[in-house]
């Protein structure tokens, strides 16, 4: 079995089929987008899809927004290369939904309108808090966008079968990656500017069905290959990896024990704890997830949508376990790293191997690869659209309308600014993505989670539950958490000083961990507390209004 067929006879077929399937998806979603644009008349339509979605629809859309390239390509890749450690991501990403369900979703739905800042600024002075929230929203979304676009770049090189020295349409692998990133960027800009929240939501729902379908088919095929015996699959994966039983235990990627170097071991274990805490606390601070709660009519529907989301996301992460170990067993670590150093192409490579096995030779492999690759592209497009919408909404509603215009902007102007912002955000994300191509996408997303958990979550929880919290506290919490997280990442081995860094040829790193969460998240909470107690500002009336509205839904939009 040849794991990389794209350059062989089947390659042309896979290429044409993928491009065809992908164009079909693009055509369908663009049609939805145009239809949605006709239904989008007010600001509420643009920002919140008219608050007309059902719990099930929004649950699927949340799944579509959340199960990103990181989940599909990244986690499968980490499991395929490092075994059990990839499972840590799945667990963290899932358990995190309990924070959103129990503490945030319903209260936010009841008291906010369009953006995360609506809740943060509810009882505060508007301009400083909204500015901070907009900065934080954009930073988190850009980190997350990078991850998705890097995934798209990795995927295209596999699909087009471009290896060093070969070309496609006159493009070498690097040019093709850049071209893909630009194309994905252009599409997400169209979805958001034309379709707004309605269009984006439907794109996410369609994608969720495709992704669940694709992952289910692959899982069934993997399990069928091992007579539906999980132990046999794990055994084969461990054997193929060449690492034996250690492949099925934690410790190959995170918390690595280096004999004779206790300090390095200590840092590695701290990095694991840091990742763990960032994953579980990040979700409820992700702006593109939070604004999804505004698309349903009531808090009760918001709760239902989170329940659906937990069901679908949990099921999906169970499937990724089979995909990752399946890729390790059937494709093998070496074939995966040859294609993509970070393992991002493990899932599509597995599809190719399964297709060849079950549906006959190169053509079968090419076909299944094409289908799964098209699903992966759909996945990426749906997520980047959600991210772009979240950041452009925040620029327009928080920064433009409330900070610059001091609440005097018309709905029309606001939505127009949101559309222009989507364009700018898209352009910035495209430019940055080109520099991040060596990083594993699940890992990049983990950084976005750390930034969200540090910069946003403390302010959200304090706002909703702490009576004394005030403007100064909110500003301190957001900037303190955000800056510490971003600075620690900047001085970490992720950015410089390691062979896998963004800038491998430079070294300015002094922070030993690759995930900043264990420092920056408590620091964000601490800053919020200090900022609050050093200011005398208190507004009991506004807190009463926030508390009553958030708990009862009175006066909800």
């Amino acid at each position: 079995m040849n794991p990389i067929l794209a350059a062989d006879a089947g390659g042309g077929t896979a290429r044409n089929l993928t491009i065809t399937l992908f164009l079909v998806f693009v055509a369908v979603t663009l049609a939805i987008t145009v239809w949605a644009s006709r239904q989008t008349k007010t600001a509420t339509d643009f920002y919140a899809g008219g608050r007309s979605f059902s719990g099930f629809q929004n649950g699927m859309a949340i799944g579509g927004d959340y199960m990103s390239a990181a989940s599909f390509l990244g986690i499968a890749g980490i499991i395929a290369l490092y075994g059990y450690d990839g499972f840590l991501y799945s667990i963290g990403f899932l358990v995190a939904w309990l924070v959103a369900l129990l503490l945030v979703a319903e209260l936010l739905r009841n008291s906010g309108r369009y953006t995360m800042a609506d809740v943060l600024a509810f009882r505060m002075r508007q301009r400083p808090v909204r500015t901070a929230a907009a900065v934080s929203t954009i930073t988190v979304s850009i980190f997350y966008l990078l991850a998705q676009m890097v995934g798209a770049g990795a995927l295209v090189a596999l699909l087009l079968g471009i290896k060093p020295g070969t070309t496609f349409l006159g493009m070498d692998a690097d040019t093709a990656k850049v071209a893909t990133i630009i194309m994905v960027g252009a599409l997400m800009i169209i979805y958001v500017t034309v379709g707004g929240m309605k269009g984006t939501t439907y794109v996410q729902i369609v994608k969720a069905f495709l992704l669940m379908g694709g992952a289910t088919v692959m899982t069934v095929l993997v399990l069928a290959k091992f007579n539906f015996n999980l132990s046999e699959l794990l055994g084969q994966a461990a054997e193929s990896s060449g690492k034996g039983a250690a492949f099925l235990e934690p410790g190959l990627r995170y918390g690595v024990e280096t004999a004779g170097d206790p300090l390095k071991t200590f840092y590695s274990k701290m990095d694991l704890l840091s990742l763990g805490i960032a994953l579980v606390l990040g979700t409820a601070g992700l702006p593109h997830i939070l604004i999804r709660f505004y698309t349903v009519p009531t808090a009760k529907t918001a709760r239902k949508s989170v329940l659906w989301a937990i069901g679908i996301i949990g099921t999906f992460y169970l499937l990724t376990l089979a995909l990752g170990f399946g890729a390790a067993a059937l494709v093998g670590g070496q074939a995966i790293t040859e294609q993509d150093k970070a393992g991002n192409t493990a899932a599509p490579q597995l599809a190719e191997a399964l297709g060849a096995d079950f549906f006959g030779g190169d053509l079968g492999g090419a076909t299944l690869l094409a289908i799964i690759a098209a699903v992966a592209f759909a996945t990426i497009l749906a997520v980047v659209a959600g991210l772009t919408l979240a950041s452009s909404s925040s620029i327009a509603h928080d920064f433009y309308a409330n900070v610059i215009k001091r609440g005097q902007a018309s709905e029309r102007q606001e939505v127009q600014v949101a559309r222009i912002s989507a364009l700018v955000i898209g352009a910035v994300a495209i430019a940055l993505s080109i520099y991040a191509q060596n990083l594993n996408v699940a890992f990049l997303v983990a950084l976005a989670f750390a930034v969200a958990a540090s910069g946003n979550l403390p302010a959200i929880l304090y706002s909703l539950f702490w009576k004394r919290f005030n403007t100064s506290g909110a500003v301190w919490a957001i900037y303190g958490g955000l800056l510490s997280a971003v600075l620690l990442v900047f001085f970490s081995p992720v950015v410089s000083g390691a062979p896998t860094a963004m800038f491998p040829d430079h070294d300015w790193h002094w922070f030993p961990l690759s995930n900043p969460g264990i420092i920056s998240i408590p620091f964000g909470f601490l800053c919020g507390w200090i900022g609050t107690v050093i200011s005398k500002e208190r507004d009991e009336d506004k807190y009463a209004e926030l508390e009553v509205r958030s708990l009862t839904g009175a006066g909800a939009h």
């Binding site: 358990v95 129990l102 099925l248 918390g255 018309s410 839904g553 009175a554």
Partner: protein, 122 residues
């Protein structure tokens, strides 16, 4: 009006209504019902998850213990995190339907007229 009025206090009567509701026994009961469930549950699932992460970092031998075939403690522990997440989500939804929604609905109904006033702001 589409946007928030910067730092505006609610108009006098509305502000008093919200304060009055907030101080009512019924609202205190709602707050207690909500916090009494979500705070302990958050602590519980967080500790349970932290235990899993810490064992993954520091108790490798235990996590590597094989139970059936190639299935080890680490895998089962991980799967139990899925089970607990589904279970807590289900318990909360049942609890909220029975104990939280009815009180919230009642208070909201009693506040009918405040809704009208507050609709004009963000």
């Amino acid at each position: 009006m589409s946007t928030d009025t910067p730092a505006s206090a609610p108009t006098g009567s509305a502000a008093e209504r919200y304060l009055a509701v907030q101080r009512s026994d019924e609202f205190a009961g709602l707050r207690r019902a909500l916090r009494g469930f979500v705070f302990p549950m958050t602590v519980a699932f967080f500790l349970w998850y932290a235990l899993y992460v810490i064992l993954s970092a520091y108790a490798r031998d235990f996590m590597g213990t094989k139970l059936v075939g190639n299935i080890n403690v680490a895998l089962i522990f991980g799967l139990l995190q899925f089970v607990s997440t589904f279970l807590i989500a289900w318990l909360y939804s049942r609890y909220a339907d029975r104990k939280i929604d009815p009180i919230a609905d009642r208070i909201r109904a009693e506040m009918g007229e405040v809704n009208g006033e507050s609709d004009s702001r963000g």
